[in-house]
Symmetry: C2
């Protein structure tokens, strides 16, 4: 059974009455509230090689990214923690990092649940206010330009290096440029930045037609957006912004840059659509955003004219 099949079954079994946006977008929307939940599990989503401060921040960041993709303003959150023995001595820096990150994004942690566990588990549910309208995956029209919010590929590169080295510190004999790249890529992976401000700004522009965050990889999330919008997409490899030095030091370090950019998960950049031009939209937003192609009426996703299959991670796919 694939993740998609399980989600389909869930959709059938759980009728949506209260929700204006239910199962299947980045967050649910009920009234003016967006609500989303994410769980990070030791040895599935992170290892003990990652500092507890980064784990704490990331556990909230992934939820904030879902709120960002809906254009919601962070409001409050609850956290359920499964705490293993090894964390007990580091519980204070863990909690302090979580508190600091929550303050930075102006979200209140109002409650939680603690229990013992063999491995660290963090399940956070975050809520946000939807002011004018939620950004949905489903509003893209043929002819709209397709945008990503920032250069891609670092998270997958960082994951590759962290898995190889089992440490966030690169080997000491690495050339300077590769070392610098490796540190940045690993940092992008372990401390992702949710695009909260951008999401709120996009929701305020009526010209933005759809939005999703790139958590499963550009190819997979672009398929999600196309499916939800009953449309297709054509993108150009040349136009996709690439994380600095991924093609240089990243390639030298043995990272498959093309795969990292197209299929790498955990980017938490926003992928969105609008008829507006890149220069006009970047000006309106006061920051660069990157047009990588356009929506078309033919279903499916094509890159430089060739089909692009979803290549991201599926938790349940049979290998």
């Amino acid at each position: 059974m694939t993740e998609k099949e399980i989600i389909e079954r869930i959709r059938e079994l759980f009728p949506q009455r209260a929700a204006t946006v239910g199962i299947g977008d980045d967050a649910a929307v009920v009234g003016e509230q967006a609500i989303t939940t994410d769980m990070l599990i030791e040895d599935v989503d992170f290892t003990r090689a990652v500092p507890v401060e980064s784990i704490a921040r990331k556990s909230l960041a992934v939820n904030l990214s879902d709120l960002a993709a809906m254009g919601a303003i962070p409001a409050y959150a609850v956290v359920a923690l499964g705490i293993p023995q090894w964390l007990i001595n580091s519980i204070d820096p863990f909690l302090r990092a979580l508190a600091e990150f929550a303050r930075q994004y102006d979200i209140d942690l109002v409650g939680g649940d603690l229990s013992r566990a063999e491995k660290l588990i963090i399940a956070i549910t975050a809520t946000g206010w939807v002011e004018s309208r939620p950004l949905l995956r489903s509003g893209a029209h043929p002819g709209d330009r397709l945008y990503v919010s920032r250069p891609l590929g670092a998270a997958a590169g960082g994951l590759e290096l962290l898995t190889r080295w089992k440490s966030i510190e690169p080997p000491s004999d690495l050339p300077y440029a590769q070392r610098e790249f490796a540190v940045s890529a690993i940092r992008r992976l372990i401390e992702p930045e949710p695009e909260v401000k951008l999401g709120i700004a996009l929701a305020g522009l009526t010209q933005i037609t759809s939005c999703i965050d790139i958590s499963d990889g550009l190819s997979t999330d672009l398929h999600h957006l196309c499916d939800a919008s009953s449309a297709g997409a054509e993108i150009e490899r040349q136009r996709i912004p690439v994380f600095p030095d991924l093609l240089g030091s990243g390639t030298a370090l043995g990272i498959d840059a093309r795969a990292a950019v197209l299929h790498g998960g955990e980017e938490y950049a926003l992928l969105f659509t609008s008829a507006m031009r890149e220069s006009e939209l970047s000006t309106r937003l006061g920051r660069p955003v990157y047009a990588i192609g356009k929506m078309v009426s033919d279903k499916g996703v094509r890159i430089d004219g060739q089909p692009l299959e979803p290549g991201g991670f599926d938790h349940f796919a049979v290998k």
Copy 2:
């Protein structure tokens, strides 16, 4: 570090701005919304001896019990699932039981998160509407009567038997009465009933001064209520309603009935206070509730004149 110490640290680190009720009650309250989260973990909160249908129901029931303790009307929930290989084949009965239980309590499941895990993890966040006012732990006054909503002791008895037998089926050679008792006690443990209707009714009566659900055991949760209300309590052993046949078949099966009633966790009965008499309150509610003692101004909890220390479960206490 004990659970209480960790919670104290969390209270210090996370200032409550949005919440009118923040960390430390059964659920947080923001505006008219109560929100609560609970996580159940395989081999910590249940084992594979428990049917997946019961695990699904219980994972929602514990949250509904928190809403009940606040007097909130269930509204919607999100669920994060860590799914191990063994559940994949039983995902359908698991989801169907969850859907049926959600429908029964009129709560919408609006979103979630799926991931792979070694052990089954279910983290549910439930929200409810607070109509007139939330029921708090902190409102009890000296002189108020102390109530429990139903007979106690079955959950701890059931846990003892389930742990001993590693099966929800009693051994086939057990005498009839003991078998009947064992089945009921185990069922009370694995399929707890949240007191949602009662909680809503209590919130509607201005004479109810405080409320908490008994998840950590009567002794521990009574201490929580007394601490929050800056008061003490005196209860009488004779008056505490005991689960049917616990003193008979339960004792014959080797269950420490006194410990099960006073300290057993996972009851999910409500413990609450009011100046109203038992007969009057039961009439108003249209169902029996049980006065077990009264609130007093002297701090601490006494039973038949002797101190009663918190004897419930602490996830983090050093053994």
